[in-house]
């Protein structure tokens, strides 16, 4: 680990000011950042610990939603009874990720900002445009079975590892931030992540020193919520593919459906194509198959991860069937 200066922020304003410098980083749970610092993939000169800031509450909003403070731990969010009753898919997604030890430390804001688990991002002996801009992408011709198939470029095929963020994406969550100087903004979660393009090292639209304060969950949409994760072992593994789906039925038709995938892209992948195919469609496996075809039509495999494309279609079909109650 490279030496760094450590400070505990006593206010949001001072945290943002401290983190505005070029080599500064916020730290909250640290479960991802400390790991990356040990490997010298992250080398902040200054670590601004926001752990004591008053951002660990879950509050009701006037419209019937919830505002989740950035420092609410993954454990606390998944166990919150309001979340379990109104956003069960969010609770399920969080519980599908990591281990209890990690969820006890990991925070809402940190989960959104965690880095990819692409093996070549971690392997400092290999080229990686995300780790060393311009060095190339070893995953393209490498062991890429965990990598992305949608929305990526030959500069970087890393997948976003979060389960929580997939659920938040299908719930139309918004990310509330504050910048050095005090300016605040609200970013739809889908717009938080930047497409890799030829600058995969820039992963979000957040500015230097801009702090996630909270995540706003709008009131839950009508319909049954299901989160399904497919992985190499029964627990404590990153997703090969995951699906968050919300299906509202009207008789034998789908009134409205929402779909987001994990494990397929640089961000949780909301599929407008699948949602359009499902709106008004008959509640049948054939409709759900068609939605899967629409969702994956632009997908591209890179060899070892080719299997993700049919796997995503089949997982979508099964998840929609579950959400529509025709299992």
């Amino acid at each position: 680990m490279k030496p760094f200066r450590y400070e505990r922020a006593s206010s949001i304003a001072s945290a943002c000011a401290s983190a505005a410098g070029p080599a500064a980083k916020f730290v909250a749970g640290g479960t991802n950042l400390v790991d990356l610092m040990k490997l010298q993939i992250e080398t902040p000169a200054r670590l601004v610990d926001i752990g004591l800031l008053p951002l660990a509450e879950i509050e009701e909003t006037a419209d019937g939603g919830l505002r989740v403070g950035a420092l609410v731990t993954n454990s606390a969010l998944a166990a919150d009874l309001r979340v379990r009753r109104r956003y069960p898919l969010l609770s399920r997604a969080i519980l599908a990720g990591a281990s209890t030890q990690l969820r006890n430390k990991a925070t809402t804001g940190g989960n959104l900002l965690q880095r990819t688990r692409c093996p070549y991002f971690y392997d400092t002996t290999k080229p990686c445009n995300k780790r060393v801009p311009g060095s190339g992408c070893a995953a393209l011709a490498g062991l890429n079975r965990m990598n992305a198939v949608l929305g990526v470029t030959d500069d970087c095929i890393a997948a976003h590892p979060s389960d929580m963020a997939v659920a938040m994406t299908v719930l139309d969550a918004q990310v509330e931030t504050i910048a050095p100087g005090g300016a605040t903004r609200t970013i739809p979660i889908d717009a938080l992540y930047r497409a890799p393009g030829n600058t995969p090292h820039i992963e979000t639209v957040l500015a230097r020193g801009e702090l996630i304060r909270s995540v706003l969950l709008p009131p839950p949409p009508p319909g049954r919520q299901v989160y399904r994760k497919v992985r190499d072992r029964a627990s404590f593994a990153f997703a090969l593919v995951s699906v968050a789906a919300i299906v509202a039925r009207e008789g034998e038709r789908v009134r409205a459906a929402r779909v987001a995938f994990g494990g397929l892209s640089y961000k949780p992948w909301r599929s407008a194509e699948a949602e359009a195919a499902l709106a008004g469609a008959a509640v049948t496996r054939a409709s759900f198959d068609a939605a899967g075809v629409a969702a994956l039509k632009d997908a591209r495999g890179y060899g070892h991860n080719d299997f993700k494309i049919p796997l995503a279609r089949r997982t979508l079909r099964a998840t929609l069937a579950d959400a529509a109650g025709i299992v």
């Binding site: 640290g30 479960t31 379990r84 009753r85 609770s91 519980l95 281990s99 030890q101 029964a234 404590f236």
Partner: protein, 214 residues
């Protein structure tokens, strides 16, 4: 400068050990003693006060020191084990303010003021903690390396279950789940046992959950 770091950290560790009341060896040589970081060094020491197993400690620490290394190297509490050192195996599991965490991914400076309980803090003098007794009774170990982490994790698991926390395998999220074997296994998935003593680990935890070994 990088080559001096091990020496500097050794010096610091000895200082910390002395402060913690642990016997240390004399410094190796005068030339080592003479090494001081230049003014421009980017190394940072910080004084950290934390409580471990009910005992207060004030330590001078390099900011890079993990909680795991503080326990093992500075406080000589070697019950907590270093397995993978990247949060995947659970051998380093300790409880911080009542919640289990991986101490390998925790910077000690971030835990100033916190109450830490390690495997050494569970027994009351010669009386094993019920979970320790149950692991012995059910033979919930083979080589034993993962066992301190397993036991700390299991103790915290019962508190989490008591608080009504759900898990990935909980069928109905709206109610507090019963602690079935499937629930125990899922909740223990952050602790790997290379010897695969899992069936007996689950049996030990179930025994304590049902009121045995109290």
């Amino acid at each position: 400068m990088d080559r001096l770091l091990p020496l500097l950290s050794l010096l610091r560790r000895r200082r910390a050990l002395r402060k913690a009341g642990v016997a240390t060896l004399r410094l190796a040589s005068p030339s080592v003693r003479a090494v001081t970081p230049p003014e421009s060094a980017s190394i940072d020491d910080q004084t950290v006060a934390l409580t471990v197993n009910g005992r207060s400690h004030v330590l001078d620490l390099d900011t890079r020191t993990t909680l795991l290394d503080v326990l093992r190297e500075h406080l000589a509490l070697t019950g907590t084990k270093k397995g993978c050192d990247q949060g995947q195996c659970g051998a380093c599991t300790v409880m911080v303010n009542g919640r289990r965490i991986n101490s390998c991914l925790a910077l000690a400076v971030m835990h100033a003021g916190d109450e830490i309980v390690t495997i050494e803090g569970l027994a009351q003098r010669d009386d094993l903690h019920p979970m320790q007794a149950a692991f012995v009774h059910h033979d919930g170990l083979q080589c034993g390396y993962c066992t301190p982490g397993q036991i700390c994790s299991a103790v915290a698991l019962l508190a989490e279950h008591e608080a009504g926390w759900p898990s990935y395998v909980t069928t109905d999220l709206a109610t507090a789940p019963a602690l079935t074997d499937a629930e125990i296994a899922e909740r223990m998935s952050g602790n790997i046992c290379r010897c695969s003593a899992y069936p007996n680990i689950v049996a030990a935890i179930r025994d304590v959950a049902e009121g045995g070994h109290t």
